[in-house]
Amino acid sequence: MIEARVQTARFDAGAAMDALAGTGAGAVASFIGIVRADGDIAYPDRRVTALELEQYPAMTEAALRGLAQTATARFALSGAIVIHRIGRLEAGEPIVLAAAAAPHRAHALDACAFLIDRLKTGAPFWKKQHFADGSAKWVEAKDSDEARAAGWQ
């Protein structure tokens, strides 16, 4: 079972985990990313009030689906779900869900980390931060994210 979605609405993490639990798995691991008010380490004194998530619409769902398929083959998953939100998201709101189901826990946990690490460097989304003082700034990609994603080669 593979599900890959891009949407503006909130997602139901509990329903996603229930669906994965129903695939005959022994283990379901999930990750949720959330908008942090202290988002940009380059600007510690500016509070983030919201993020604006831009996507490359023709590419995103295929990229997420390809990622879920790669994870399924690599970790022998019984299911994988990736949901990414777009549009304006306030501080505290969930951005992304990555979840994996497998017979045993090591594969489920590893697949979940793989999904989110690879999504961060391979799926065409961009975040613009809106600060409390009215200013805005595009988030810079992190070298540490590239390193984590490359670690899965």
Partner: protein
């Protein structure tokens, strides 16, 4: 071929999508052609190390041949998740 821009590349160029010039064989050559337009194009596309590319929705390096691709996307490194 259509060219699409995203995030600050789109903002600096001031344009979401435009038609590519003809007779260009690689992504890198296309960058040279686009920069020659000056203004937002020159500023946004000045530093190739800050740019990423996709041909028909697949990530490629700047030495990729355009071939018969329908769409070239130019954007900053992705920051989703």
């Amino acid at each position: 071929m259509k060219i699409v821009y995203f995030a600050w590349v789109r903002e600096q160029i001031g344009c979401d999508a435009e038609t590519a010039p003809d007779g260009v064989s690689t992504v890198a050559e296309m960058l040279v052609m686009l920069r020659a337009r000056g203004g937002g194009h020159a500023a946004a596309l000045a530093d190739e190390s800050r740019l990423r590319f996709a041909l028909d929705q697949l990530m490629v390096k700047s030495d990729a041949k355009l071939g018969h691709a329908q769409e070239l996307a130019i954007f900053p490194p992705v920051t989703g998740g």
